[in-house]
Symmetry: C2
Subunit: 353 residues, 2 copies
Amino acid sequence: MEGRVLSIQSHVAFGYVGGKAAAFPLQCLGYDVDLVNTVNFSNHAGYGRSGGSKTSAAELESIFEAMEFNELLCPTRVLTGYIPNAEALAAVARLVEKLRKQNPELIYLLDPVMGDAGRLYVSADVIPVYRSLLPLSTIITPNWFEVETLTGISLTDLHSLRLALTKLHKDFGVPNVAISSIPLAPWLSETLPNAIRPPAVSESEHLLCITSSVSNENSPSEVHVQCVPLLPGYFSGVGDLFSSLVLAHYKPSLEASLPEVLPPFRTSLSEAVSQALTKTHAVLCKTFEYSERLPEEERLVTDDEKDAVEPIRKVRRMRGRELRLVQSIDIIRSDFGDATRRLERWSGFWEKL
Amino acid sequence: MEGRVLSIQSHVAFGYVGGKAAAFPLQCLGYDVDLVNTVNFSNHAGYGRSGGSKTSAAELESIFEAMEFNELLCPTRVLTGYIPNAEALAAVARLVEKLRKQNPELIYLLDPVMGDAGRLYVSADVIPVYRSLLPLSTIITPNWFEVETLTGISLTDLHSLRLALTKLHKDFGVPNVAISSIPLAPWLSETLPNAIRPPAVSESEHLLCITSSVSNENSPSEVHVQCVPLLPGYFSGVGDLFSSLVLAHYKPSLEASLPEVLPPFRTSLSEAVSQALTKTHAVLCKTFEYSERLPEEERLVTDDEKDAVEPIRKVRRMRGRELRLVQSIDIIRSDFGDATRRLERWSGFWEKL
């Protein structure tokens, strides 16, 4: 693979989130990566305290302007992640609009990083700006909460999931949606195709990954899914790694290729997400195993009361759970072949609509 | 190899200088890299215009303080490069002093980035701060001009070269000095050991790489040298790549190992620099070949008059000469074995003193 990715997201000195989680995998897979840092922090917010500063919208614009003047705005792909406020996001939006006009073939993966598990961690005024950016995207990789935030639809059953996907595809013009980790609630598990439903007893130990792609306006989207075993504990940067791998493995020309290359009903997105899911899970397993082997004081379980008295407990837990990304170079560069966690087509998804 | 490098140098969005030239090779060779950005620019200064801003000393300190609070200052190696002014450099110096005290085994590669070919490109008040930092270093990688600037000695003959190295080792307490690219003037060429002297006709097409290491206070240093063919044109980031590879390949325990591992008269530094020189030259050749294949308008030769009228000439030349770093992943990870450009011992270097 060859290409040039313009990645606009956070930078941390220590550890692997944002650009630090994305650049190395993209580079290992052959992409030149232009890295614009939306913040310059010591570490991610999960540690409780961090140093450094956010990049102002004016500074971002000064970087973009100089790049344009020097003819350095020549990416074949764009990746945007954490952008902390509406002014900065608006500057990024103007840039992406320009790049999209210059190059209709541009592949833009928009990760609308806004929050998780019901809580926003950017200022609320970014929401309308993200909505205005959606029509420029090729792929979006929201989490569950971000789908709800963007669409205004609470995801409580299959019907609301269909409505949300329809809204993203039709109203916001997003061709490809990938949601990497949906809690496998009973209503969701019950409706899954048999081939991919985990044994009932272990449903709560699985997450669902779902993709939805439209190839033309008149057909419903192709929906693909896969379950992934949930690892205990919270690991930061996993979504950023996943998005970078989806972008790295996305081959837009696949749909036009022979059935030997892309079997019927598979999509460029389902193929890319299968690769990304497999590699992300392998990196996560490696990280989990490493964190389990650490001395006990480096892996004290979450305990809000004890953590409040002794904040270093949380800090050490975070440090012990930083992605083992550099050590995963062979995972990142591998072709998993038959061992790929391949997404399966959810053929009946739209039928009962 | 495993370890953790704290790299403190410049960041550019586009292209490969500073941290962008150093992080990927170190990561590919197995190191976790903590990246602190001393500037956040769109591109390197050679383009003539750049956007973004310098990181203030206060911002650097805020990053270092948060890292210390979160117990994230745990590098086994430190790499410092371009730091634009004395206040920022003083903040870095205080940090390195603290790290050195905490860990006497710390390996600190100091690249005293100050200028080239007779011209300073940092403010002059950094010079005394760099001098005060020298005793904390394990290895320094100055260029020819930076040796002159640090020692105050003009390098015009073998005698002055000996004086400068003595000053660095004895007065400034630097155990290892590596100078990667010295123009091969006649006085230098004449004195070289026969084994490594290039044919007289091609002297001007070669650069000399020299290392000097002291193992104890009472013996003169071990000096090693190698010639490298000079490629036409100026390529940015080469020194930053070289320094990162020297640090990556430096194994301090080699001197204590068996002769099968480290033959007599070789040093940890001469071994590391042999690897770094080989790989840097291979990346540079790859970059040169790529730039030669570009369309003519992307590789217009330097012509100060034409460049002044049409600045985009220079900009495109710069862009065409950005290191092909990502495409060199196999070079970076290779063991060159017998094809290594091995430094040779300059056994008579100190004899005529």
